[in-house]
Amino acid sequence: MKYLALAALLIATPALAETQTADPFPVISPDGSLYQAFGGHEGLVRITDDLMVNLLADPRTHDFFVAAKRDQIKTGLIQIFCHVMGGGCTYTGKNMTEAHSQLGIREEDFTALVESLQKAMDKNHVPFRAQNRLLAAMAPHHREIVTGAGKG
């Protein structure tokens, strides 16, 4: 019985360690300098506000967001961006796969969102290099987000 518990512990420990290290949103700027380049919390609020305006104005993304819980999406994005850029936030929303599985988002829709985000970052004077660091951290999530036509 003792051995069994020990064996279970041995098996469980690496698994635990793995869940702890496998952050779906790895921090790319632990010192928070990137978070500062984005204007901190206030900057991210302005950027996500502008992002949402752009997404509704773009016919390619309008339909995805018009009926969505936009405030909830903005809050989630702010938490993710803040966390990734070393602002010390925690993301409390659904995981990416769950949140997007029913939406049938295609790669071109994903690109349209990136372009709306680029416009919003431009408008808020985020330096090009800082923009690209955030985009590089977000790009791999196309795998959980893009579930529409021609997947794989």
């Binding site: 790669e107 090009f128 660091r133 790009a139 791999p140 021609g150």
Partner: protein, 292 residues
Amino acid sequence: MKHHLSGALLALSLLAGVPAARAESIFTYASGKLLLTGGVSQVEGAAGGGLTPWAVIGGYETKDQIGANAFYTSVDTQDYRITSQGALVGLYNRVEFSYARQDFDTQGVGAALDLGYGYTISQETVGVKVRLLGDAILDQDHWWPQVSAGAQVKHNRNGALVKALGARDDQSTDYYVSATKLYLAHGLLLNGTLRATKANQFGILGYGGIDNDYHLQFEGSLAYLVNRRLAVGAEVRTKPDNLAVAKEGAGVDIFAAYALNKHLSLTLAYADLGNIVTRHQSGLYGSLQVGF
């Protein structure tokens, strides 16, 4: 005359006015890639830098779309004017078909060789490229690049002349493998291409010479994104040295590629093409690409 003019004006205003929404939907059809990430048109018509193919599939299409573009390129060197024009179609970000024609105007050299001033050697290239693995742009958490393999089927239209200069054939096929990776966080794009070729001076001087073997050549590109519309960089392309009549060396260039939008881009470069028959050739390179 007046009638024709007003008719034309009416047609123009109709084109400009009514179908604007429709035109927009056509123009945004293949807009699924980010600006400049489909590369520009290399001299033989494939998507890439100016001299070398990249692993990217040309056009702005995604795996659900079809993209296309056409280009015109001109290089003016000390003794020659080289133009290239062509078009490509990108299917589902997987396969690229291209066609290009290069015209090599020998200008005064033609006169000196008794060919006549402005004697022009032409080559046609039909290309195919297939993406094998990876995504140079989206897979930012992978170290491995996007890899594609391609072939360029070349036909020199001045076979008698190039054979007289020592080439063995007036047609041949190049095979290449390209690996391309965008390091987005650093704004850097790297490409490496290995090409097996028999071509002399891209094929302008035919194929084969001292030997009739394939020669393995390296081509590389480095680009830095200044902003979303502008990339600057450098390229190198080694070439075989297989004709007895004249030495052949590597080509290099430094370039700036500017995309006004997804439909129009302009590339300016200073290209050094190495020795071409008479002497070292270098000069300004300009390329315009229009995409749909």
